[in-house]
């Protein structure tokens, strides 16, 4: 038996030793060694003694960025990532590298911290915890491929400059109709532009519908409808249901009447088709814009009667369609469809491809149920109240913790949120049996963009003061006659007016009245020609009658103006500013010829300037020359930093250019 004294001595020593372990461990924390390493590297890279001493005199301590107004954020990343704002640390080994130069870095670290863009646990001072690699981690660091998701948490608009992946992702989600099934913040009133299915019975045949339902993209590469992986049985049921739906009587009459009409002149139709520039939106044989269906086999897709009736008035068949209502005459339409029947048909399709389906009532009833349970209604029926969305909502999906996700059968995936999302978009039904999300066919880049957009949806929005969103402007399109004309010709399918409209045209119309001369505009609307030869898309010849064109030109001249653009830029300026000869000299010196044509020589990159006086207003030209990027940030005309006088002289010169012909073909 050990004597009491000896035992006491032993236990006292062990007592002190054990209590000393924690302080010793403390002094060996990893960040201390890392900071010493930084000091060493900094001193080696320093070019002056003072700089080297600055590195040496840095205390070894935890560093943090504390932003009380931004969710009381504390980011201690800079405890190890010491060189992020240090210019001397460019290309230093990690973790000391200087942060790459972007819009917000490295100048805005104190405003936003690190975790607001990159994720991760800001409070942590150990690598695994900080990077969110522990079980129970609230938010792991985003892989570099998805960094732009961080931008999207503050920048809520659909298009975010300097964040191309994010913008692409958001555009893809909008186009693919994700929000028709999945509710998301900011997209609660999303309406899919999928066509209504009311006229299927007179539009197409059972065989074609079966082909379509089994693989939409196989039939039409431009299709945005995803593949629902329907079984043969399900396709039968759905087809029967769709063919059993009653057709609106007026439409039925129109189709049947059109079917009875005599055939048209196919050669004429071909010419009309080319003039109408349908491939500005459609494709034929893969050539064209692709935002509207492929027409290469259109005659095997829809019946003659339906095509004629549709072309005469697309809006009666689908009020939501982006297709304008051309000013075709009745024979024009017959001719075009005759050409379709001759050339744009699937020559390998069976003759019965457009034969209507004989409806089996039992199958049709089952099809009606399937229409709901498979989710077709989400896009093809127009009332999607939030409570009736088909799929789970996406609120806060960017902050879902990986441990709370169900990976099901996909044991091959790394257990991260981004891997789950990517796999879900790629093969939605691979996680378990009985899942209903259809298969889209995105390539890896598109998937990356969509996952980025999803990761930008936070559980809790950032504080109000930090949010950047394009406010939704009220529509600038008036009601009444003008509004009806704009609606009929679907200007907004291609052009932008204010914050609405499409981007097929590079010319926004918001200030068009300040830009172009009214008479030129009226004649252009009747017969558009190619202003910028280098662009593939051309404004279609919509056959706008003269009086509609006049009304439109007047409306644009009156309303779509920029009040800051002077009517007469030369007013109140000295006479020397009107020197067109000097302007011509400037034109040569600045090298405008390399992109612009006047007469017979010059470059094709920008619009030809031969007709400037006829087309453009001087006030606009003047303002443009002072700052070409004023209306669109991506305009390629360089900003030469011209003085007002120089710009006026150039304007004076350009205003002498006119081709004497009012219209050109």
């Amino acid at each position: 038996m050990v004597s009491l004294r000896r035992l006491f001595a032993l236990s006292s020593v062990a007592f002190l030793a054990v209590l000393a372990v924690s302080p010793v461990k403390n002094s060996m924390r990893p960040y201390r060694a890392i900071q010493k390493e930084y000091e060493r590297i900094g001193m080696a890279r320093a070019t002056t003694l003072k700089a080297a001493q600055a590195y040496a005199s840095n205390p070894i301590a935890i560093r943090q960025i504390w932003i009380p107004d931004f969710d009381n954020r504390v980011d201690r990343c800079t405890t190890c990532h010491l060189g992020v704002s240090d210019d001397a640390m460019t290309n230093a080994p990690e973790p000391f590298t200087r942060h790459p130069e972007t819009v917000h870095t490295p100048k805005d670290f104190a405003r936003f911290g690190c975790t607001s863009c990159h994720g991760g646990e800001g409070l942590a001072t150990f690598e695994a915890d900080a990077h969110g690699r522990t079980a129970d981690a609230p938010s792991p660091v985003l892989p570099a491929a998805y960094t732009e998701a961080g931008c999207g948490r503050c920048h809520l608009g659909d298009f975010v400059s300097d964040a191309p992946v994010l913008s692409n992702g958001r555009a893809l989600m909008e186009q693919s109709g994700c929000f028709a099934c999945h509710a998301a913040r900011g997209h609660e009133d999303f309406r899919s532009d999928a066509p209504p299915l009311d006229t299927i019975a007179v539009k197409t045949g059972g065989e074609w519908l079966r082909q379509w339902l089994s693989n939409p993209k196989g039939v039409d590469p431009n299709a945005t409808m995803p593949n629902f992986r329907l079984s043969r049985q399900e396709i039968d049921e759905l087809s029967n249901y769709l063919f059993s739906r009653p057709v609106t009587p007026e439409l039925q009459r129109a189709v049947e009447a059109a079917a009875a009409e005599p055939p048209g002149n196919a050669a004429n139709g071909k010419t009309l088709f080319a003039e109408s520039r349908c491939i500005t939106c459609h494709t034929v044989g893969g050539k064209g814009n692709g935002s509207a269906p492929e027409l290469g086999t259109i005659a095997s897709r829809a019946t003659r009667g339906w095509l004629i009736a549709f072309l005469r008035d697309p809006h009666a068949f689908n009020p939501q369609t982006r297709m304008p209502r051309y000013g075709f005459s009745d024979t024009d339409v017959r001719d075009i469809v005759a050409w379709f029947e001759d050339d744009l048909r699937d020559f390998n399709a069976p003759k019965s491809i457009l034969d209507p389906l004989r409806v089996n009532q039992t199958l049709a009833e089952r099809g009606e149920k399937l229409f709901k349970t498979a989710g077709c209604f989400a896009c093809h029926i127009k009332t999607t109240k939030e409570t009736e969305r088909f799929g789970p909502d996406l609120y806060g999906i960017g902050d879902r913790r990986a441990v709370s996700l169900d990976f099901g059968k996909r044991t091959d995936l790394p257990r991260t949120l981004e891997a789950w999302l990517d796999a879900k978009i790629n093969q939605p039904r691979s996680f378990a049996t009985g899942l209903k999300m259809p298969t889209f066919s995105f390539d890896p880049e598109q998937r990356r963009a969509i996952v980025t957009a999803l990761l930008a949806m936070p559980a809790k929005p950032v504080p109000e003061a930090l949010r950047v969103s394009t406010p939704r402007q009220a529509s600038l399109v008036p009601a009444g006659t003008i509004g009806a004309i704009v609606a009929r010709y679907r200007c907004l399918s291609c052009h932008q007016i204010g914050t609405e409209g499409g981007d097929i045209s590079t010319a926004p119309l918001t200030f068009e009245g300040s830009k172009v001369n009214r008479d030129w505009l009226a004649s252009y609307l009747q017969l558009p020609y190619s202003i910028r030869p280098i662009l593939p898309e051309r404004m279609p010849v919509l056959k706008i009658p003269a009086e509609d064109a006049a009304k439109l030109a007047d409306a644009i001249e009156t309303w779509y103006v920029d009040p800051s653009i002077p009517d007469d830029p030369f007013a109140g300026r000295p006479a020397s500013d009107r020197d067109a000869a000097e302007g011509q000299r400037l034109y040569t010196t600045l090298g405008c010829r390399s992109c612009h044509i006047i007469g017979n020589n010059g470059g094709y990159y920008g619009p030809p300037l031969t007709d400037t006086k006829t087309r453009l207003k001087s006030g606009w030209v003047f303002r443009f020359l002072l700052n070409p990027q004023r209306w669109r940030a991506d305009i390629r005309c360089p900003n030469y930093g011209l003085t007002d006088s120089d710009a006026l002289r150039l304007t004076a010169y350009l205003e002498t250019l006119s081709s004497h012909k009012e219209t050109r073909r």
């Binding site: 009491l4 236990s11 054990v18 209590l19 372990v21 129970d136 609230p138």
Partner: protein, 228 residues
């Protein structure tokens, strides 16, 4: 008894040297033994200090090698599955699986606490001799019927973690009647009851801690998956 005085005075100044209270039916007793006394300092005090140091050492070693758990921040919307009480209440939570909450959460714990508090005042605890000291047959019958009643009662609720220890300890109690081994025969009734209680409580707590998984379903500890 020359040094015993009878004091009948209430005078506070009359300070007695020794006080003896003699009950009418007893004689003051004297016991002989050879008990040794040692000074508290150093013998007791140093032992206490060493014990304190050993406790600190043991706990510090545990603290150095094992971290206290910390899960994600409390989220009222996200219920973990299973949601478990602290370990000392897991026995109760296991009992909740078999009995309605009034019984398992209020009645049984309440009864246990009352039973504990009453222990020093119950005659049976103060007087207890070995269980089979006397009245064998009567005791045998009572004990058998109580054990059987408990077993049937708990089995009716399918509460096997109580049934099995009850049967085991009940049989041991009945078997101890044989007289061998001696130490088993010497166990008193209150000790049997307490042992039964401790074994049942430990069983319930162990099951609640290690053998219960999502949805309070039975899991084998070595196959359990860490919960969300």
């Amino acid at each position: 008894m020359s040094n015993i005085h009878l004091v009948e005075s209430n005078d506070p100044l009359a300070t007695p040297w020794h006080v003896a209270l003699i009950r009418p039916d007893q004689r003051p007793s004297a016991r002989e033994s050879e008990e040794r006394y040692v000074t508290a300092f150093p013998h007791l005090i140093v032992r206490e200090v060493i014990l304190f140091q050993l406790v600190v050492i043991a706990l510090s070693l545990t603290a150095i090698f094992f971290d206290a758990p910390l899960e994600s921040i409390a989220n009222p919307v996200e219920t973990p599955n299973p949601a478990k009480a602290p370990w000392y209440f897991l026995g109760l939570q296991e009992l909740l699986h078999y009995f309605p909450p009034v019984v398992a959460g209020v009645l049984l714990p309440g009864l246990v606490v009352i039973a504990l508090l009453v222990i020093p005042y119950a005659r049976i605890n103060l007087e207890a001799g070995p269980l089979w000291n006397a009245e064998w047959r009567w005791k045998f019958a009572i004990i058998t019927s109580i054990v059987a009643a408990l077993t049937i009662l708990f089995a009716a609720f399918q509460c096997w973690p109580v049934v099995i220890p009850t049967m085991l300890i009940g049989s041991a109690a009945l078997a101890s009647k044989r007289g061998r081994p001696r130490w088993l025969w010497e166990v008193t009734l209150p000790e049997w009851i307490m042992t039964w209680f401790v074994v049942v409580a430990t069983t319930l707590t162990l099951i609640g801690t290690f053998f219960r998984g999502p949805g309070w379903s039975w899991v084998w500890p070595w196959t359990a998956v860490p919960r969300a």
